[in-house]
């Protein structure tokens, strides 16, 4: 199977576009999901600053967003994307639904990572006069760092999967190439190459994430 120079350029471009979408979306989704996840823990029943109404409302909203299949969300959000960016096509436009679709999922992952932090350590910090903000910034987040890193690796690969789905609605990146050439023109070889590239990218993110998580975790000797 030999590809023309143009085709190879297309693959390269698609890969770079996919990287761009995934990295940007992950960063923006964490900007929303991380504080939400922290808020879920802090405001919980046994949290350091219980706020039952806020906690329950947040929980419901997150569950609603999470229960919508991403492909549906992708289409449903086109007016929103168009309102923000003026277009719903291309890789930049895809970032909007990617962020909205993955932030709730990230919030839940952050929540579960932070809940793993030993309650005794939090109690010790309280006994030293730490404020809730200090507990979040100096105890919860640093102590949960390895687990948060594993979560981030999972989040990146999930977002990568979502970004490929966006190919069906002109989202750009490797997904679009797979849809345009593989689905519409029956060029199975092109589809297989994009698939291989996607698998390779997932592997890289996953391996790097796990490696970092293991290296920064000081609980092992």
């Amino acid at each position: 199977m030999m590809f023309s120079k143009e085709m190879l350029n297309l693959f390269l471009e698609g890969t770079l576009e996919t990287f761009y979408m995934v990295v940007m979306s992950t960063l923006l989704a964490y900007l929303i999901g991380l504080p939400l996840g922290v808020l879920l823990v802090v405001s919980g029943e046994d949290g350091i600053r219980p706020m039952p109404v806020l906690n329950r409302t947040l929980g419901v909203v997150i569950n609603l967003l999470r229960s919508a299949p991403f492909l549906i969300l992708l289409v449903a959000l086109t007016p929103v994307t168009r309102a923000i960016l003026g277009t719903s096509l291309g890789s930049t436009a895809t970032i909007v639904p990617l962020v909205i679709g993955s932030a709730p999922f990230i919030a839940r992952m952050v929540e579960s990572s932070i809940k793993e932090v030993d309650g005794g350590v939090i109690e010790a910090a309280q006994s030293m006069g730490a404020s809730p903000m200090q507990i979040v910034l100096r105890v919860m987040l640093p102590e949960a760092k390895p687990s948060l890193t594993v979560g981030a690796a999972i989040a990146v690969t999930t977002i990568l999967g979502y970004s490929a789905m966006a190919g069906f609605v002109g989202g750009g990146g490797l997904g679009t190439i797979a849809v345009n050439y593989g689905v519409h023109r029956y060029q199975t070889d092109v589809m297989l190459v994009t698939l291989a590239l996607l698998v390779a990218i997932v592997q890289v993110f996953q391996e790097v994430g796990m490696h970092i998580a293991a290296r920064i975790d000081k609980r092992r000797r």
Partner: protein, 343 residues
């Protein structure tokens, strides 16, 4: 009594609301702890002692009653004032509760950084504290690389960082082996003497109280059953709760055989782990040529050392008694005479 009071608890009651109605953890506790003393609070598990110590820095809010520390009524402070007050009350825990992702020195700096001390100052202070707890060479180790005793030493250094007036110890030695327990207790005693910090020790082990406390409160079923000087309580426990803690397992034993006259004298012999393992009592009987009746014994051999206590009934002959006392003195065994209501 010219001793200054540092902790006062008045009419403290703590109830937890559970699914099956309220659970009373503490009821009508009145307590006064003097500046500079080591005060023990002992009780069986479930007696409410951990809740009580958590009321002393308001990690647990009392349902009723008032808590004063260093003249401040903690229960009347705002959140912000309370955080400030807590900086003057150090606390250590059974499970050490160190930051697992931070090194020893970072753990000790932690409370200082919380109070806004700059990093350079904090590290300087942390190095001094590492010196006090004898772990200067482990400053860059993570908690996972330290033994239990070392972790507790780091926790003690951390608790002392803000120069507290009071140090609360919640079962601080319960996760440690006897030898390490002893070294931690000695460290606490040294800190108490050197820095004049008042120490409150929560424990279920009588030997901890015996080793370092000057006064003790016995907590039983949410109430203070008995309170007083440690040696007083050892000599004449007034309540069943105190006797249960002093002489565990006694209730399962058949009634002590009543040998001889009712008013016979008794000795409590304490094996503190410093006596090499040898048959002290048997030798005593042989050397002194006087039989004794063992009324109670609770001893264990740990790493070749005997730990525990024994109560023996003394023979009637005066000269036999003085021979026994002389023998025990010579063997460096701690003993004291007790009245027959201890059992």
């Amino acid at each position: 009594m010219d001793q200054k009071e540092i902790i006062r608890i008045e009419g403290l009651t703590k109830r937890f609301s559970g699914k099956n109605g309220d659970v009373v953890a503490l009821e009508g506790i009145d307590l006064s702890i003097n500046q500079g003393e080591i005060f023990g609070i002992i009780g069986l598990s479930g007696a409410g002692k951990s809740t009580l110590v958590r009321c002393m820095n308001l990690l647990e809010r009392p349902t009723e009653g008032r808590v004063f520390v260093d003249g401040q009524e903690l229960s009347a402070l705002t959140e912000k004032q309370l955080r400030q007050a807590r900086r003057g009350i150090g606390m250590i825990f059974q499970q050490f509760n160190l930051l697992m992702q931070s090194t020893a020195i970072e753990n000790i700096c932690f409370p200082l950084l919380l109070s806004g001390v700059n990093r350079r100052e904090a590290e300087k202070r942390a190095l001094e504290l590492l010196e006090i707890v004898g772990l200067s060479d482990r400053r860059n180790a993570y908690p996972a690389q330290l033994s239990g005793g070392q972790k507790q030493r780091i926790a003690i250094a951390r608790a002392l960082a803000n120069e507290p007036k009071v140090l609360l110890c919640d079962e601080a030695t319960s996760a440690l082996d006897p030898t390490t327990t002893r070294s931690i207790l000695l460290l606490l005693k040294e800190i108490n003497e050197r820095l004049g910090i008042t120490i409150v020790v929560i424990t279920h082990e009588m030997r901890v109280v015996e080793e370092i406390c000057s006064r003790v409160a016995i907590l039983d079923a949410s109430h203070v059953a008995e309170m007083g000087k440690v040696e007083e309580i050892f000599r004449r426990p007034k309540t069943a709760a105190a006797r249960r803690l002093l002489f565990p397992g006694r209730e399962q034993r058949a009634e002590a055989p009543a040998f001889g006259a009712k008013n016979q004298r008794m000795l409590r012999i304490v094996f503190d782990g410093m006596t090499p393992f040898e048959p002290v009592i048997a030798n005593m009987v042989l050397v002194c040529g006087a039989p004794v009746n063992i009324l109670f014994a609770n001893t264990r051999a740990i790493e070749g050392k005997t730990v525990g206590q024994m109560i023996v009934q003394l023979p009637e002959a005066e000269d036999a008694v003085s021979r026994i006392e002389a023998y025990l003195n010579a063997q460096n065994v701690h003993y004291e005479e007790v009245t027959d209501d201890v059992l």
